[in-house]
Point group: D4
């Protein structure tokens, strides 16, 4: 119908067009997923419900569902392994896991090595300090946090690489759907932080992959 | 004229009525200050400009000016020394100093012992960890921070006493005059934190003094 | 799985880690509750649905459900009775009861004596004035109110102890989910007030318990 | 020039068109004031600076300046004395006085009897309770308050007549220029309260005068 | 249980305590309604669902349901007929009817004469101008409008009596749940307007009844 | 220096690039104005202070200043007279005049015939109804209003042509710098209304000129 | 019942009163639709659910449903073909289609020629540049976009005719229900843009039809 | 005094601690600048007024002032030339220049190669398309834009590298101090975009330098 696929970006970046399943019917999602799969590239669908996955799986049996991340991927496709670089994905609390996993799964399908460091919120600082060495191995760090969104500032001070901060909608009352965390991150006093939209694990992973791909070369030398 | 002095609270708490000099002329401020001084109790004026102090000093030569805190106090008056208890006052950056000093000067005039721990923002965590022992001596902790307002959450996780968080209006752009810090503090995942108005160092010290006064007895035993 | 339990805070404060059941499945909640119960400390789960309680009760039959407070507690565990101090819990209207009860149940499981003074909103002042004597016995006062959130200011003027104000999401239209009450409380002209997040009865009780524990010593002398 | 004077309203209500001096030059204000004075009716200019008054006084020597209220009136003109009814004007703190006086001066020039009850904020409740009898004499009550804006709710519960609430821009930080007080008043749980714009003492007096005029007849019988 | 009934206000105003059924179970609502009915005064429940009415009707068979207004009343009770005075209730569009009817039903049970003038929004001005004569008979005017909330300003210019403006949550997009209408009404350039909370037809009628009761005497002479 | 002039739009529309003087020094403004004047087209500078005009006048003596509109124009240049069509410019109060004049002067320099209908706010409806015939002659109507921003809705219902609504920053308190008027206009129930930015008289005139130019042909037949 | 049909506007504009089905029952919608159909003019219902259409179809079998646009139209009625002029309707992404189709269907029933140019968002600019020629044929352009709402600015720079921008509620997190897109469009640096309410495809089409009707004459010469 | 210098970050990143001069007196700024200069590393002060520069120049004569960028740098110091990589800095309009220059000067002192592409806003798209080749040479792109903030989305679609978006406070009315641009950028449909605080050119350059440093190695091979 009316969809105009944007092949330009894929050509420039080597990263595929991704299906955003929110607001699409399972049938629509499956149809687009299948047509992309047919072209042999790596395929990713985000914000996919179990129903959307069921529809995809019927069309593309090799597709895998990442329930926590709400993502569908097609393993064995082209990009995997080519990007390189290492991305650490952190989250503050267990409620931030769906967003962190959306980031992690996206980064992996795009070919990055991912280090998951979860439930390391700042109110129990020893948890973060305990993983400091693992943090040091990353070329770029994604930090997901809801409520007060303080984790990126602390992490930003511990590492010498770019930090992509993802505010999550976790919280209640004066969290205003993630706005409190978003504002906190935008005002961070760590200067190596930039921010994406609330709950946008995908976008954080996309831009992190571009960074890690370049950084990989540094480490490989 | 129209001012009705509230002696009830002073009687109940043993803490004096305080002059809020903002929006008053130097002459008005001096007049109220002098009349309180005449009654022999401890006197405090907050948000006092140098001009306000000049007017006060003419009427009450013993009055002292705390320029950074924008406070005027009358030393040697009744409350000092009676309250007891120890209050740690922290701030994240050097721009938060006026608010932190308003808190510290208020707490001292009200008779608490004050430990100042300044410029210990979370983006350089080693600075905070270096003062951990001093923190442990406090019966209550006041934490002033602008921008992302993350410091109270981290401090809250390090101590076993109440933390009073004071958002400051330090910042620009999406700090929205301190609203970002305020929201961050309200959403803190440390459960021992409560929050006062933006830049309200006075209120933080007032309520902290009430807490410290009780807590002193614990330490004295 | 990914959960990192924070034993540090428990050690420092003598207060247990608490299960926040919102956004967890009944099975997840029950599993965490049971593992904490096994360690013999006092256990508390907040924001627990009847379904969550059912799952907990199967694993830990001694667990009790506080329906109005949406809390599950394990009586007979370690903390109860040790904290001491007296906390008055007030609320403005009957719709604020769930938040007030979350505070009251939390404070009790943490070992404080609780005085409940409900439905004492400022539009019918005689109701508050009628309980003034009971208020005077408290070491700290928790005040829950939605809509205009005026009650803490009035209470703050009647007592000489710290007041923890809890805005509730009760209201409609321009209450904006509790934001009106929150702003009112932050701007209170009573200087002994500090504020927690909208509907955060738990946090108010946690910090009040720390205050009451110290204050108890004053009264015991 | 372009100004179209609205005589219709004056005819309907018996109340004169009023000059809103904010955003007008002293010369413009004086010109309009003088032309209204020439017609022999009561004249009022609000938000008038001392400079504006100076210009008016040159054109209309009988004009009087109410410095605190920032109003200019022309005594001896037609309306005074005709309206009748009694309006109580309350304010919470001394900083609210300019708004309260704008209301009081407006009501008086429109012919109402005004009872001023100032500095009766809710944080020191005894001050309000001390004037309860005076309140009872009013046909309508105007309540001006900034910061948390709690006073109208308390007053609303004490009287059996309409209360017009005027939020003021007094405060700082999270008062957001009077928005906190405004929201508090709109969410009042006293059902006899309606609200006007922030700092709009004039509007409160205008609508109160219409109410008092009718109510006068009740008392006169 | 915990409910403290406020008889003071009823005594002062002659208007009964009203049951606000939102957030109460049908059983709770019915219990309170029945106990008030037993005392022989006029009874009103607002925001009552059909289920709440069913429960009330079983306890108090004489109770009547006003479906559009979502109100339950007990006819034949004491207040009706005593208040007097005339209230015009206007609304801008058909979607504002539930709020307008809440106001109208409330005013009638409180004893005022009500003139309903509906669907007279300003985008088709002839509809309002056609009812100008009916408007002129009112002692006070209630105007309900959503979307841009312009109707009160126009009506305020047409009448010489107080106008109570009720913003409604009717609209979508940038109406932000009635906030656009609320702000419009607060900024009205008609000085005889005061405003109540979004969708608060009840409060508008309550305060209007107090005004109309006094005004009645004017007309009766 | 760095400025890239956009000649494309001028070529497409026949309307010149316009100098936005806000945030430019008088010298910078004059330099750009002079260079555009040299090319012989109609020239317009908006938001020009008297100082900016003085600088322009020295470089381009024929330039004229429109003080109320804060605009500088160069008469006798190319566009004037070519556009045709008639634009009515309305404003609600005298304080809206600067915005209305920015619109009127812009439309005239772009070649449209302008009908000015000022101070016709809805609180005194007879003023608007008195100019209804003049309104009927317009091909498009620009309506400037601050405070509640109700005028466009009423005008939209009176005419059968497009209405461009311009919220102004006139007002105080809850007008929030024009946001109240903006929201009102976006929610108008008249379907022939579209809205530009707060105080953007220039943009309203630009888009209205494009509409009027086409409409002219209708009337000329 | 209470509905007052506004025939004035229809007479002035030749465009029919339209049924806004949101918040009406299917039965109510069908009744109004049928009564308008009986008068022989073109009929349009917007925001109509399938259930509403089913009810309409029973009363008016010739009615057609536009599922994506959520509109019901009655073909063969009077207006079609008379308006003339060409309207291009653009949208940024496939999720904006319902709003774009509401605009397109409305414009067609009102007699304009519509060019649909969908899925031409600015992140893949070649898609927009590819349809530049088709854009050039339009007398007015409607641009629907959610998320960042950037498309109108780019389109505004490519065409010499008025652009009506329609923010959509498409997005999540910091899109705040379309507010981000709305603000972007209001701040556009293209001066030929005006804006309607979020998701208001109908209003955009209504005002565009009025513009296109006039513009048609230009092209016909 | 109280300042605790954070040497940790410098050691980790090889980038110096930077002086944020806003809110510091010229004397304070000069003192810190001089002490950093003494240590032989590259030194940068941002938000420096001419007065601050004058004070610095007296202490450190080699310091240079970048007036448009409001920055002071010390050339010939250690970092320059070591970082490598290429950063393109774009801005939409001439009013965005101060922010763009803060970014450019920061990136240069940190050792990156900077390509300046200014005044390429989306309303005149040809200007951006004309510099497409220069864009292609960048390892990372900084895009500064106020008003609607649309430029990053368009640029993000043209390049295959990370884009750091900087909203600026340029605009008026509904730009709300840069909030409109900020929201637009956070909602960008280009997935390679992350965002920093309003006007934070410094932070954008800091994080871009970290990215470019890694990317350089790719290009050097
Ligand atoms: N810096 C401050 N911030 C907020 N409240 C204050 C401050 N200083 C004093 N106050 C309060 O203001 C009251 C005195 O106000 P006033 O009567 O206007 O001088 C005191 O009782 C304090 O509770
Ligand atoms: N302080 C005030 N606040 C709000 N409105 C006012 C005030 N003073 C006067 N007005 C209104 O402004 C109108 C006069 O405005 P103007 O024609 O601009 O002088 C009067 O009819 C009053 O309704
Ligand atoms: N008052 C105004 N409000 C908004 N935009 C304007 C205004 N005056 C001029 N402009 C626009 O600003 C552009 C020129 O901006 P600049 O290059 O910064 O002078 C012109 O092309 C106009 O589209
Ligand atoms: N323009 C700026 N915007 C935001 N942060 C800055 C800026 N300039 C410097 N900084 C940060 O401010 C810190 C220094 O702050 P201070 O100790 O107050 O001088 C540096 O480490 C930078 O991270
Ligand atoms: Mg945890
Ligand atoms: Mg520092
Ligand atoms: Mg009650
Ligand atoms: Mg006082
Ligand atoms: Mg209608
Ligand atoms: Mg006027
Ligand atoms: Mg697409
Ligand atoms: Mg330009």
């Amino acid at each position: 119908g009316h969809t105009r696929v944007d092949h330009h970006r894929s050509l420039r970046t080597g990263l595929p067009e991704v299906v955003y399943a929110a607001g699409k019917t399972p049938a629509q999602t499956a149809e687009i997923f299948a047509s992309l799969a047919a072209s042999g590239v790596a395929v990713l669908a985000t914000r996919a419900t179990p129903e959307a996955y069921a529809a995809i799986a019927q069309a593309v049996p090799a597709a895998e569902y990442h329930a926590l991340a709400r993502c569908v991927t097609l393993p064995g496709s082209a990009v995997a392994g080519e990007t390189g670089g290492t991305i650490a994905v952190l989250c503050a609390g267990t409620s931030d896991l769906p967003v962190a996993e959306e980031a992690a799964v996206t980064a992996e399908i795009f070919g990055a090595k991912v280090i998951r460091l979860y439930d390391v919120g700042v109110a129990g600082l020893h948890r973060l300090l305990a993983v400091k060495d693992q943090l040091a191995a990353a070329d770029v760090v994604i930090v997901c946090a809801g409520m007060e969104g303080a984790l990126p500032s602390v992490v930003g001070g511990l590492v010498g690489v770019p930090v992509i901060a993802v505010p999550t909608s976790v919280g209640y009352g004066a969290s205003f759907g993630g706005a409190a965390a978003l504002l906190g991150m935008l005002n961070s006093c760590s200067p190596n932080i930039s921010v994406v939209n609330i709950d946008n694990g995908f976008g954080a992973a996309y831009t992190s992959t571009l960074i890690a791909r370049a950084a990989r070369n540094v480490h490989q030398k």
